[in-house]
């Protein structure tokens, strides 16, 4: 896990300089760490589920409910007040989720490959900042502890490398996490993928996958499932481009009942109000007398 050795000095430097802005880390999975006056307020990475994924994928809230809350909050990406007001999560729970997502993103970046990093001053406000900001010293200590813990396991797993498969039927009762991982492990998903699918932190899932590999509940497939390929019977032919049809020569006298083929439009279609006639079908029938009454009322001659 080499990313940590490159990321640690970059994070420490931002803390020492009292940096305000974003530290953008390129690599696999890479990510962004947001600083305010040298303290870390948020971090996100494609390698770790963010607060929204943790809430949605864990089943604490449905996608429809989430969309409703975001709309109620005026389109914000992290509708804290609405989540609390509707009883989906407590204020303390949401704070914990944000801190967990921050630490998890830094772990994922550190466990991966760090190619480069750069500081960006013009940082937009992160959508789910932590209320109690983190010092870089504490964040680095925690990250180093996590990386060492994963490496010390009897069957060390990289969050983005092994793609485990379940082994037979387990004999002993399973924890909810083990059950979830056995359900979703398909030989295609890494610990990171399983973390997203189950709505749990990537560190937790990585450790559990390593334990389950050691306990022979999971195994690493020797070969990935094959890519299924077949050549289409007619080969791969270029798409037939749609062109306006050329004007047809004047036909011999044809029966007038046959409709003409409409030409392929080159411009956006224009809709004529009432063209479909649907309003005539759906609207209740109104008598002419009703409209006369309306005009009389408007002209002051009703009654």
């Amino acid at each position: 896990m080499s990313g940590y050795s490159l990321l640690a000095p970059a994070l420490a430097g931002c803390g020492q300089d009292g940096f305000t802005g974003a530290l953008r880390v390129t690599g696999t999975p890479g990510g962004t760490v947001h600083f305010r006056d040298g303290l870390v307020v948020a971090a996100e990475s494609p390698g770790a589920p963010g607060p929204e994924a943790l809430l949605l994928r864990s089943g604490r809230i449905s996608a429809e409910q989430w969309a409703g809350l975001v709309e109620e909050a005026g389109g914000t990406e992290w509708p804290v007040a609405e989540l609390v007001a509707h009883g989906h999560a407590g204020d303390a729970t949401l704070r914990v989720v944000c801190v967990m997502a921050l630490h998890d993103a830094v772990f994922a970046m550190s466990a991966g490959i760090v190619e480069d990093w750069r500081r960006t001053l013009g940082d937009t406000d992160p959508f789910a900042p932590v209320e109690v900001t983190e010092t870089t010293e504490r964040l680095l200590q925690d990250t180093a502890r996590r990386i060492a813990a994963v490496e010390r396991l009897p069957h060390p797993v990289h969050p983005d490398r092994e793609r485990p498969l379940p082994v037979g039927k387990p004999e002993n009762p399973l924890t909810p996490l083990q059950y979830d991982l056995l359900t979703h492990a398909d030989g295609r998903s890494t610990a990171r993928d399983l973390a997203f699918r189950t709505g749990r932190s990537v560190y937790t899932v990585t450790v559990e996958v390593a334990r389950m590999l050691a306990d022979e509940l999971l195994e690493c497939a020797p070969e990935p499932p094959p890519v299924r390929i077949r050549t289409p019977p007619a080969g791969v032919r270029p798409r037939v481009r749609e062109r306006p049809r050329p004007p047809e020569p004047a036909p011999a006298p044809a029966p007038p009942a046959l409709p003409e083929t409409p030409p392929t439009p080159d411009t956006l279609p224009r809709r004529e109000p009432g063209a479909s006639g649907i309003a005539d079908v759906l609207a209740p029938e109104r008598s002419a007398a009703g409209w006369k009454w309306f005009f009389r009322l408007r002209n002051g001659s009703a009654g």
Partner: protein, 130 residues
């Protein structure tokens, strides 16, 4: 068509882009050519839907005078479906979870699409499935 080379490109894209979960390649009229997809996804239907979606997006871009279609991306609450035209004859479907970095995908897919187009149009004998 070189099956090994096509499988390598699809696998390579998945290894390169964090969060990319599935890929499929189909003809422009919706016939499946290759699938690197999970069992829960029906690749034939996906290829057919992708052809319809890409065709609609292409016509919309043309009618709205937005130039040549580059790609179309559909966002769901649990991830992303990205459709790329592979030249004039084929298409590629990419599925990713909500963590997938789309900028990284687009950078990686640009080269992959070009190479897949070459593979699809080059004559080569190979066995079914790789």
């Amino acid at each position: 068509m070189n099956h090994e080379a096509l499988a390598r490109e699809m696998r390579g894209l998945r290894d390169q882009v964090t969060g990319l979960t599935d890929t499929a390649v189909g003809t422009a009229d919706g016939l499946l050519i290759a699938a690197d997809t999970a069992d829960c996804i029906e690749p034939e239907g996906l290829a057919a839907l992708a052809a319809a979606g890409l065709g609609l997006a292409r016509r919309t871009a043309h009618a709205a005078q937005r130039g040549t279609l580059r790609r179309t991306v559909a966002y769901g609450s649990q991830g992303v479906t990205a459709l790329y035209a592979v030249g004039d004859s084929a298409l590629m479907v990419v599925l990713g979870d909500e963590g997938m970095d789309l900028d990284q995908l687009h950078r990686a897919a640009t080269g992959a699409v070009r190479r897949i187009e070459t593979i699809l149009t080059s004559p080569h004998k190979a066995t079914e499935g790789v």
